[in-house]
């Protein structure tokens, strides 16, 4: 419900919004931090805004434990915790951080059941507001994905979450052996809606 109704709000000027227009367009718009990553041939993640039907690439700026900081050409960030969306910076959506220990364990464990997650958002008045979601996680079974031309075996995990006034569905395609989330579609928040991620093989 929310996914369908919310999502026209990504700002044309937002960092990722611009970057998605095409990485090759013009180096001059890139922040220096991104150019360094480009030169270092840093790992690449393909991301998309589901509702805007746009996509582009971000580069890995830092891996600290389970946390991966993916930087866009003009300096926005998507923070993933073991593949699960933990935070955003510079996208207009103020997802400061999330508490994901329960859903992470279940999704990577390929288990079905109930779990809680917490998202902390910056609101328009600069307050950090934490929201609690109750989620149902289901193992939807094996799926074969065509990933950049390669047939890849995955398990599809579905997470359906609700709070008092919000509702969203996240999908994760998990590699059976490594239990890595290699493809996903995850809800970031009311402003930008869902983000898709896909690891680009080196």
């Amino acid at each position: 419900m929310l996914l369908a109704s919310c999502g026209t709000a990504v700002d044309e000027e937002s960092a990722l919004g611009q970057s998605l227009a095409g990485i090759m367009k013009n180096d001059a718009d890139f922040v220096p931090r991104f150019i360094v990553l480009l030169q270092q041939e840093a790992p690449t993640l393909q991301v998309g805004f589901v509702d805007r039907e746009t996509s582009g690439n971000v580069l890995l700026e830092r891996q600290e434990g389970g946390f991966a900081y993916w930087l866009s050409p003009d300096g926005a960030q998507i923070i993933l915790q073991d593949g699960m969306l933990h935070g955003t910076r510079g996208l207009g959506e103020g997802l400061l951080a999330s508490e994901l220990s329960q859903p992470l364990a279940m999704v990577r464990g390929l288990q079905s059941g109930w779990s809680d997650r917490f998202h902390t958002y910056l609101d328009g008045n600069d307050r950090a507001i934490t929201r609690t979601y109750r989620c149902r996680i289901d193992n939807r079974g094996a799926r074969e994905l065509n990933l950049f031309g390669t047939a890849t075996d995955t398990w599809l995990m579905r997470e359906t979450c609700r709070s008092l006034d919000q509702e969203f569905v996240n999908l994760y395609w998990v590699a059976p052996s490594s239990r890595d989330i290699i493809v996903s579609r995850q809800w970031a928040g009311p402003v930008i809606g869902a983000i898709s991620t896909r690891i680009v093989p080196r």
Partner: protein
């Protein structure tokens, strides 16, 4: 009532609609109502409504602000064309400034209507003066019924003996408040409120769809004055209207008053507590890394060369964040940086970015970070952070508040200047920008402006000492075209503004030497000398006591000012004056800030100014003030005493990008000579408040942003 949030800005109506009730209909008075009649409704807390309408010879422009959940206030600038057409004067139009206040006495419940009491035009010329007690109740999903009792203008039709006169006979007749002419305006007409005959008005609203509604009212406002002057035709007591509400907050209205007069209205309702972009579009901060991954992880900061390397790395990283490193020193396991924040309007975010740069750079044995923000080279507060807390909490979902709880904020008055970054002084900043200034409410031309180019510079040879200049050259405008001259009977300390605009070409707006310093713990001081402002030169001294974690600040100020020549160059006129004020500032902690200044004003008059502002956490501010001095209402002239409303809009609120720039505007209904205060730059409370504990804590949600 989220329908009316800035949906154009957020575009996210889908979610915002959850829990929405219906759109708010605004009357021709620009506040919740039917057509001319008020309802007992209010706007959602904190919202602002801007309304413009026109019908017949009448036009009204209103700003309504929901000050408290139950209280709104309105400021209105109305025009009645040809009001004095029968008189042989050059300007026959009536320009009328008025203030309203509305208090909701009871919320609407399932069984009981909302109840409200209101005063319209309680201090103006009285042409709209009226009072009401009104009840509003919704029936079902679509019908809302309103009924009320009106006095004054709201009792021009179907009136009866004032029920309050059974309590006190004094209520039976309404004194003629307009009798004193224009010079009595501004005085609160306490004597007339709820006096004279009363009448009953009523109305109904039908909500046809989420966006479209229809209104029908029985009006007790017969437009007597306007009908007498043949400005409007009223054939029936019934008015009808429709309202189309856009989710963006825009409302379009059409209505018919008195059966003949068709009117149109546009209003825009928005919530200042919502930035255009809640999370901001500023670039992502540097990730906080483990200390073994810091760029100087294995270095010992024991010798000069290592310190220099660390300082240079920090300097570069901070420069990317719009932060100037002004001092760097290491004491054992503590690293202390002094910074100037040139980019971030939320100061806690600047502290967060600084801490990230330190975590990214400094050797592993450094485990305490102290960040000291400076303004004009003067230390303010010292924020102490444990590196291990940053490492632990930067990915915590409640990280911002947990970090705040584990940090310390102290006063930094007694910090020595060890580790001053070399080559920082002298500092020279300058800029060439366009400018616009406005002049409001001249009856010949209600909105005048000047626009042109301005050059400003700040030269700082040592910390705290700054030479400032601001020069303007108008390119276009019409402020100088004003033909009205001051008729003030007291010393003309402000009312000659037109002469300044007229006689000046190239303007020296400010040319000063200023010294700011910290005389002691929790104390700030300032001395300024030179051409202090547009109309005065002189010297100014100020002392402010502001404990770092206090909501209260106290200050004293002493000035000697001499009036400048109208050409705004270097010459001075004969008039000089000593002015002095004692000030108290209090932050209520719930978004309200008050300031009281008592002392001697530019005209030599003694009195006090009371100001109250509502400041949203994102920096959007709206408020007002009034000044009462020993200048009598008669001597003051039109308006009776000085008052005004003011607002500040941070540029980041509009753009979503960080900036310390903000747009501030003061609107005074009349500019006269009583209660006028010297306009010296960089008054200490404004300069220091952002980095005291209360404001830093309020912005802490953006610490990890």
């Amino acid at each position: 009532m989220k329908l009316r949030e800035l949906a154009v800005v957020y575009g996210c109506i889908g979610m915002a609609c959850v829990g929405a009730v219906s759109a708010q209909t605004l009357s021709t008075y620009g506040s919740p109502g039917l057509i001319d009649m008020p309802t007992a409704r209010v706007l959602p807390d904190g919202q602002i409504a801007l309304t413009a309408n026109a019908f017949g010879n009448i036009a009204r422009n209103t700003l309504t602000f929901q000050v408290l959940p139950r209280v709104y206030g309105s400021f209105r600038y109305g025009v009645v064309r040809d009001f004095s057409a029968n008189r042989r004067i050059t300007n026959v139009d009536l320009f009328d400034r008025s203030f309203d206040v509305h208090v909701q006495l009871a919320f609407e419940t399932e069984t009981r209507p909302a109840l409200a009491l209101g005063l319209r035009d309680f201090g103006g010329t009285g042409i709209l003066a009226s009072e009401y007690l009104v009840a509003t109740k919704r029936f079902g999903d679509r019908f809302t019924v309103t009924g009320g009792l009106g006095w004054g203008r709201l009792a021009q039709r179907g009136d009866f003996k004032n029920p309050l006169s059974y309590l006190d006979e004094g209520f039976e007749t309404r004194p003629d408040t307009g009798a004193g002419g224009i010079n009595t305006t501004g005085q609160l007409d306490f004597g007339a409120w709820f006096q004279g005959p009363a009448a009953i008005f009523a109305g109904v609203e039908y909500q046809a769809t989420d966006r479209l509604s229809f209104q029908l009212e029985y009006s007790t406002d017969a437009y007597q004055t306007e009908v007498d002057r043949s400005l409007i035709e009223i054939d029936t007591p019934f008015n009808v209207g429709l309202n189309y509400a856009y989710p963006s907050g825009s409302n379009l209205r059409a209505f018919i008053i008195g059966g003949t007069e068709i009117g149109f209205q546009y209003s825009y309702i928005f919530n200042p507590g919502k930035r255009r972009s809640p999370g901001g579009l500023d670039t992502a901060p540097l990730p906080i890394v483990g200390r073994d991954a810091a760029s100087l992880a294995d270095m010992q900061l024991s010798d000069r060369r290592a310190l220099t390397a660390a300082r240079q790395t920090l300097e570069t990283l901070l420069e990317d964040e719009g932060i100037v490193l002004e001092g760097f020193q290491v004491e054992g396991a503590r690293a202390i940086v002094r910074i100037e924040n040139r980019r971030w309007d939320v100061e806690a975010q600047a502290i967060g970015r600084t801490a990230r740069a330190m975590a990214r750079t400094l050797p592993g044995n450094i485990d305490t970070f102290v960040v000291i923000p400076q303004v004009r080279g003067v230390t303010n507060s010292a924020i102490t952070l444990q590196r291990s807390d940053l490492e632990e909490l930067h990915t915590d979902f409640d990280g911002a508040w947990r970090t705040l709880a584990r940090s310390r904020i102290d006063d930094a008055a007694l910090t020595d200047r060890d580790g001053e970054v070399g080559g920082l002084y002298p500092k020279f900043l300058y800029g060439l920008t366009p400018y616009v200034t406005f002049s409001f409410f001249d009856p010949d031309e209600p909105l005048r402006f000047d626009a042109g180019a301005q050059f400003s510079f700040a030269f700082s040879p040592t910390p705290g000492l700054t030479f400032d200049g601001l020069f303007r050259q108008a390119a276009t405008g019409n402020i100088a075209d004003a033909t009205r001259r001051s008729n003030s009977v007291i010393q003309r300390v402000r009312s000659d503004a037109v002469l300044y605009a007229r006689e000046s070409e190239f303007e020296i707006n400010r040319l000063t030497a200023e010294y700011m310093f910290r005389p002691g713990e929790n104390l700030f001081a300032r001395f300024t000398a030179g051409y202090l402002e547009n109309m005065y030169a002189g010297v100014s001294g100020e002392l402010l006591w502001y404990p770092v974690d206090s909501r209260l600040a106290l200050g004293v100020e002493l000035n000697y000012a001499k009036q400048r020549d109208f050409d705004m160059l270097l010459g001075l006129q004969d008039y000089d004056v000593i002015t002095a004020h004692a000030s108290a500032y209090y932050d209520f902690g719930n978004g309200f800030i008050t300031q009281i200044d008592a002392g001697r004003y530019l005209g030599g008059d003694w009195g006090a100014t009371i100001g109250l502002d509502r400041e949203f956490n994102n920096g959007f501010k709206i408020g007002g003030y009034f000044t009462l001095t020993d200048v009598s209402f008669d001597d003051f002239g039109e308006g009776s005493f000085d008052k005004g409303i003011r607002f500040t809009v941070p540029v980041s609120w509009l753009t979503g990008k960080p900036s310390r720039a903000r747009y501030t505007q003061l609107i005074q209904p009349v500019l006269r000579d009583g209660g006028a205060r010297l306009d010296v730059a960089n008054r200490l409370y404004g300069v220091t408040r952002d980095y005291r504990a209360q404001e830093l804590s309020d912005g802490w949600g953006r610490f990890y942003r």
